[in-house]
């Protein structure tokens, strides 16, 4: 049964995510370059509603006197680019590997699935640390790195669905009419794999935004003064007792982004039944 009207469980998280993205990429332009500059006379000013607040700095300032609103939005640019970019990369890689493993099976399947198991056995942060030490930590590097951190889930989901669809009678019938593998994958397997992977993509965005935050917090993310939510939090921790707002705003943004990404994933899963059981089995909440 399809419900009439607007599905709030879908549109609220989607709306908040879109709003966050727009704010992060457009907001700093509207605020002007001045707000992001260091101003040592304006260090550690509190948010607007607390005594000692500075005009034009609604969310306070950090230890260098930079506007926290601007910093938080700018930090979001990096975190969201890396999070969304790497989730997209992970799902694309996962769909290709999952289709190869699930549809063609045989030794391809064994190699890919063994690779996934082995990959999960490695401590990802240690690999990330080594990789960043060798090749640096630009945004493209981080996207590739986190793609590697997220490919296993979409691979497994895609493989399971492909394996199941491949042996459905209607797919056998198409093969029996002379359809090529390419036709079967494109017309029958892919349409069932795509919705499930959009759900996985949504969950993966949430997971990777957290991982990007962790990497930046450990100093493995983009280099200061470029902001990201993780390194703002790292910079703010020494001041947690006196200037909580430095840590609070980026942390809040991470929480909101992750909750919305997961809620979006849940809503999409509810909307498309295809593969929902597979996702439930593979995603351990």
């Amino acid at each position: 049964m399809r419900r009439r009207g607007i599905d709030l469980r879908l549109w609220v998280p989607l709306g908040v995510l879109v709003l966050t993205i727009v704010a992060c990429f457009v907001g700093p332009m509207l605020l002007g370059p001045e707000a992001g500059q260091q101003a040592l006379g304006e260090r550690l000013a509190p948010p607007a509603w607390l005594p000692g607040a500075i005009d034009g700095r609604p969310l306070g300032t950090d230890a260098f006197g930079r506007d926290m609103l601007t910093r938080t939005l700018e930090g979001g640019q990096v975190s969201l680019q890396v999070g969304f970019g790497a989730a997209t990369g992970a799902v694309l890689v996962g769909m290709v590997l999952g289709l190869v493993a699930g549809y063609w099976g045989g030794w391809c399947d064994r190699v890919i699935m063994a690779g996934a198991d082995i990959w999960l056995a490695f401590p990802f942060l240690v690999i990330a640390l080594a990789a960043v030490a060798v090749v640096g930590s630009d945004i493209p590097v981080l996207i590739v790195l986190l793609t590697l951190g997220g490919w296993v889930l979409p691979t497994r989901v895609t493989r399971t669905i492909a394996l199941r669809v491949r042996s459905e009678d209607y797919v056998v019938a198409a093969a029996g009419a002379g359809a090529s593998d390419l036709y079967l994958v494109r017309r029958h397997v892919l349409p069932q794999v795509l919705p499930a992977n959009l759900v996985v993509w949504s969950f993966t965005v949430g997971a990777l935004v957290v991982i990007e935050g962790a990497l930046s917090f450990l100093g493995l993310g983009v280099k200061p003064p470029t902001a990201s939510w993780g390194n703002i939090i790292a910079d703010g921790t020494p001041y947690l007792q006196t200037a909580w707002w430095i840590v609070a705003w980026p942390a809040l943004m991470i929480v909101v982004t992750v909750i919305c990404a997961n809620a979006l994933g849940n809503a999409l899963r509810g909307r498309w039944n295809a593969g929902a059981d597979v996702i439930d089995k593979e995603v351990v909440p």
Partner: protein, 310 residues
């Protein structure tokens, strides 16, 4: 003229859990002439579905040959088989599973034509007419149809490539009894109209005795008796066939003659055996049955694998 399909010495086994090997089909040969209905009956698990899939080249045989109208299609490259697949089409047991929930009736029926890029040939409307469905059904999805309608759609799709042989895997087993007769009648009409040959898989002798020209009785992967439908049904030679016939309910109680009752379960298809596969359940089994596998013997029009049949 070469038969529409000739199977020679087909065998298929599967490795199953625990390292055992299940012999699904063991040295089966049969031929079907143009326009003929060959019915294959047997209990669940006797290998008839595996045989059907091999006949339609949906499953590759381990050994033996499949020839379509004289052309050997087993041991061929997949692309070569693909090019001649029009010859034999498959009708599935469960029409709900055989239709994609994402395709409308029209898309499903025309899919083989699109696959073969034969859009110019038979139209979907003609095909729906053939199977007695209204053209307006074309825009519906399978979930909006009844079981009988779905099976008609599956049959229409199988006819789209104008095959010479339809392999029907228990085509009415999942339908209501009232609909079963309709679909069987439809199949008879289509056969008369298009000169189709049928390989009809069934587990119900009552269903096939009225529509088949020839009947093959399968037990544990082998055809134990084969012959003209009338002969097999009225004078069964093999004890297993006799058992199956005895299990068909008689119209008039008391008309049912004294025949061996169905006893026991089939031997496990994973066990290696010597002698006759049916010996463990057979009332007439003697020492030779346990020691020597019975060869195929011709008794008039009927062929039997039994030491004692006469």
């Amino acid at each position: 003229m070469s038969p529409v399909i000739a199977l020679e010495g087909l065998a298929k086994g599967y490795d199953i859990a625990g390292g055992a090997r299940l012999t699904a089909v063991d040295d089966v040969s049969l031929t079907i002439a143009a326009g003929e209905t060959y019915a294959l009956v047997g209990e669940s698990g006797c290998g008839k579905s595996t045989l059907a899939r091999m006949a339609a080249m949906l499953t590759a045989p381990d050994a033996g040959q499949v020839s379509w109208s004289g052309q050997t299609v087993s041991q061929q490259r997949r692309s070569a088989v693909r090019a001649v697949r029009d010859h034999t089409q498959f009708v599935f047991q469960d029409p709900a599973a055989a239709l994609s929930p994402r395709l409308t009736v029209e898309e499903a029926v025309s899919e083989p034509l699109r696959i073969r890029r034969r859009t110019g040939s038979r139209s979907v409307a003609d095909l729906l007419d053939d199977v007695g469905l209204d053209r307006s059904m074309g825009r519906r999805y399978p979930r909006e149809l009844s079981g009988g309608q779905r099976q008609r759609v599956v049959i229409a799709r199988a006819l789209a490539l104008e095959p010479k042989l339809l392999v029907l895997d228990e085509p009415v087993a999942s339908l209501d009894v009232s609909v079963q007769a309709q679909v069987l009648n439809l199949l008879a009409d289509l056969q008369a109209e298009h000169g189709l040959a049928y390989l009809l898989i069934a587990h119900d002798l009552a269903v096939v005795s009225s529509v088949a020209d020839r009947i093959g009785v399968m037990y544990l992967g082998q055809i134990v008796e084969e012959g003209p439908a009338g002969d097999v049904v009225t004078t069964p030679r093999h004890p297993y066939t006799q058992m199956l016939i005895a299990s068909v309910p008689a119209f008039v109680p008391g008309e049912r003659g004294e025949r061996p009752r169905v006893v026991g379960d089939p031997a496990s298809p994973t066990e290696r055996r010597t002698g006759c596969a049916f010996a463990t359940r057979c009332a007439f089994a003697t020492q030779v049955c346990l020691d020597v596998a019975p060869p195929r013997r011709e008794l008039g029009d009927v062929a039997v694998r039994c030491h004692h049949a006469s």
